[in-house]
Symmetry: C2
Subunit: 359 residues, 2 copies
Amino acid sequence: MKIENKEYRTIWFDSDNQSVKIIDQTKLPHQFIIKDLKTVKETINAIKTMEVRGAPLIGGTAAYGMVLAVKENNGPDFIKKSSEDLIKSRPTAINLKWAIDRMMKKLLNVDKDEYLSVALKEAKDICDEDEKFCENIGLNGLKIIEEIYNKKKDTVNILTHCNAGWLATINWGTATSPIYHAHKKGIPVHVWVDETRPRNQGANLTSYELNEEQIPNTIIADNTGGILMQRGDVDMCIVGTDRTLSTGDVCNKIGTYLKALAAYDNKIPFYVALPSSTIDWDIKNYKDIPIEERNPEELSHLEGLDENNNLKKVLIYPKKSKSLNLAFDVTPAKYVTGLITEKGICEASDKGLKKMFRQ
Amino acid sequence: MKIENKEYRTIWFDSDNQSVKIIDQTKLPHQFIIKDLKTVKETINAIKTMEVRGAPLIGGTAAYGMVLAVKENNGPDFIKKSSEDLIKSRPTAINLKWAIDRMMKKLLNVDKDEYLSVALKEAKDICDEDEKFCENIGLNGLKIIEEIYNKKKDTVNILTHCNAGWLATINWGTATSPIYHAHKKGIPVHVWVDETRPRNQGANLTSYELNEEQIPNTIIADNTGGILMQRGDVDMCIVGTDRTLSTGDVCNKIGTYLKALAAYDNKIPFYVALPSSTIDWDIKNYKDIPIEERNPEELSHLEGLDENNNLKKVLIYPKKSKSLNLAFDVTPAKYVTGLITEKGICEASDKGLKKMFRQ
């Protein structure tokens, strides 16, 4: 998708420079910086500090991390250690493990001298596949938006939480892909963008990328979705997910659950968009999902532009106060209207998911 | 209650200086500044800019605004105009109209030369009564906390939203009063403080005032309450209200509704604490409550301390983005476990409220 009218993907291999290029998302929206990753360590750091984030992009980055690993040292110990360290870099998004498993499976079947070329191809395949899946999610989700538009004959108001946009994937996004496809088709859409405290990925990334694609959007405090739904100002919700259980329970950015409850209370459809790489077929009870706890400073401090256009970080809490920073919550399946996947839309349930992916 | 170990009320008349003293709450938690109001215009400005806020304190401030009005000019036109302008200064909190009506009723029955003394007495009475009511709310709410403690035999975790603390009233607070009373009685309590975007009154005021009274508390993003409830980390919720309909529907700070939904979903008691001055006996349909829309800059800009301890305001949104700043939402009565009032705890319903207040 576009930034300042130029097309980008979120990650790519620069063969001239022999490095992995990423957009440093911690600097958005105030600075657009493309960064080089040259080592596994740098890759792990980029995932941990959320220079790259979003379950599908974390998967893609981990795959390229394995490319950098085999470039650095193609001994089996180093490769194994790298894969383990990459998996541990963030706990909640399941795509991380999925991508590493896929890379390791390929590497196990070839000779050492083929490692680099095989790793490069597989990482690119993972990314290309993610892009294709996200495009399909868009085409599938488009039908829902179209249906609402055909009834309403007026702008379709869609609420989203956090950033499940193209910046969270390789391209298109998950939750945003149906929106981009609707916009392309000339359906008038307007997006309510949840700010998404504490890291404000809604404001910093979703609103930013929608602006760059000329899609009307309004940032709201995370507290605001409820009254907008009560007032009839939301036609549907679409969010992403970091891990979807086979039961249909959805683990996503903290606060998603509250919007799902409000949508349910106001009879507004609440959809979750995901590539099948985010499905966890193993865990059955959502209480077993590891929920990441991050640095409380992400809550108590905020960075922005001062009056001289300089980036400044300020403490916004009382000095004596402490805070807790949980990054995800779980929306029980009963509050999810449907899952928009690359294969089609299915019920958020064991039956729905198995029918779509395991038949 | 205490700030830096000294007892304060939130508003008082300084007879030496012939002014009304307030704590400028827009400067908290980083600066503690006591400010003088000398005119109606300054009073209206203090309410509009939220130097004073919270339904009960807005009522008390409006009452003292009428004192300043009669001091400035005791002609009937000026007094009438002042009362109207004060009522219009903020739209949602019902106490504003309630306090002005009470002041005007007193003034209508006395001679001009008694205006000042009568106004002063009535404003003080309104404030004293609010303090007494809040104390009673505390004693009534204490019973609920005590009951949980007697069962649990461990720290009672209470979630609150925004600031319905002593800073929102004259003293004690509404939602915080049961907490202060429990703490005084030696019951171990811990408060989950919703940050409360966009103005962060939870972090800036509630956490601040709890710190000053040595009550353990943790600030959380507004998104976090849901998962804490799912995990069993919240024993009860108590919030305040800006306007309580006779139907039991509760209009309070934006986001309250979402927490009530989560509490309901997790079978956690959700109480609303209020003095009877916040009851609106007229409006029957919550959709008729005027919901204040404030300046979007309250969302897009935030003030805090930079590394040199200087207050700095920074832009935290993309420059091209727009935002919507609604200040309140409505929690339907069915999600409210009970109303904690100065007279006792009643059902959030027409029947419950009438039985308590209109028999």
